[in-house]
């Protein structure tokens, strides 16, 4: 019985560690992209494009088509940062699935679903 309890606690801490890793990685990647983007803008002002926010899909298309100016780098850094907490929710959801804690799988799924709904709504109003 004691062994089972200890195992559960270790797993529980595992979810916390994975969540913290996701957050750390997200902040580092996005901050690095923003710093590089701002430095590029300062050193090569010609790489600055219109600062009007593109739509989410247009931005992703531009990045994948190799159209990577410093403005897009900043937008991409911001998007990575905005997705970081959502990825954290998804990580916690997976953690609870591994722990077979179905009540909290459902709760995490509701949070994840609402956030997905927000993104769909955003794409709907901007394209």
């Amino acid at each position: 019985m004691i062994e089972v309890k200890e195992k559960t606690e270790i797993n529980h801490h595992g979810v916390e560690l994975w969540a913290s890793r996701v957050l750390r990685l997200g902040v580092w990647i996005s901050a690095s992209m923003m710093i590089i983007g701002l430095l590029c803008m300062a050193v090569f002002p010609s790489t600055i494009r219109s600062t009007d926010a593109p739509s989410l899909i247009a931005l992703i298309e531009q990045i994948f088509s190799g159209n990577f100016n410093s403005t897009n780098l900043l937008f991409a850094g911001l998007i990575v940062l905005m997705f970081t907490p959502i990825l954290r929710v998804f990580t916690v959801l997976l953690g609870y699935i591994v722990e077979r804690d179905w009540l909290f799988v459902a709760i995490s799924f509701i949070v994840f679903l609402m956030l997905t709904g927000e993104i769909v709504y955003s794409i709907f109003i901007k394209g």
Binding site: E16, A19, A31, M34, P85, M114
Partner: protein
Amino acid sequence: MSIVSFTLILLGGFIAGTFGALLGLGGGVLLIPYLVIIMNVPMHQAIATSIIAVIATSSAGAVMNLERRIVHMRLGMLLETATVLGAICGGITANYLAPSVLSKLFSGLLLIVSFLMIWKTYRGSGSEKITTNGILPASYLDEASKSTVKYTVKNIPASMGVSLVAGNISGLLGVGGGIFKVPAMHILSDIPMKAATATSNFMIGVTAAASAFIYFAHGRIDPIITSSAALGVLAGSIIGIRISRKIHSKMLIWIFTIVLLVISVQLYLR
């Protein structure tokens, strides 16, 4: 944008982040008035900028709290259902409100924040009331006393109600909302102050992300202003947290209470 404006925003973000962490406010409460009053950034854009800065500081802070196991993650996930719903509604509403209305709402928010800041400073620092017959049992290691604090949570619907309102304010006005959630979780649900603060901070990143995409879709995010302010606030909050371990000045709280009241009047009159 000129290099001078860029530097001023970076610096302003840094100062807002440092004092935000020192006062336990988060960066948004000081960043938004700075951007609006001094840098003449439109209100919606300032709110969007603050939302992004809040994601950065909350995520960085949560890393530390998760590793120290102070966050009550199950409670955080449960309350996130309320904050996320509130924030999405707040984000949608804010984008249809006039800047002058948002300025007045923010002005009112600053009055409440000033009061809560004073309350937090003068609440007794005696032993905390801990409930052991509630639900969602949890524990954390208190570094000051080197002892494990075990607690349970009571009256979750009340904390969920406050979380819904805090999430709504976050989406509407671009702040984290921790200043509302922490006292509520502590008073209504008997969660120790340290765990309430860490759990609230853990939730704030997701709450902010719940309105960030809406502001992005409405074209409220200027990449240069937002990136420089977010980096400034992030760096400032890291420094602020380190200094706050050494400084506990009631004088600082009173100075900033007056500053917030002056800002509140200025925003109301805009």
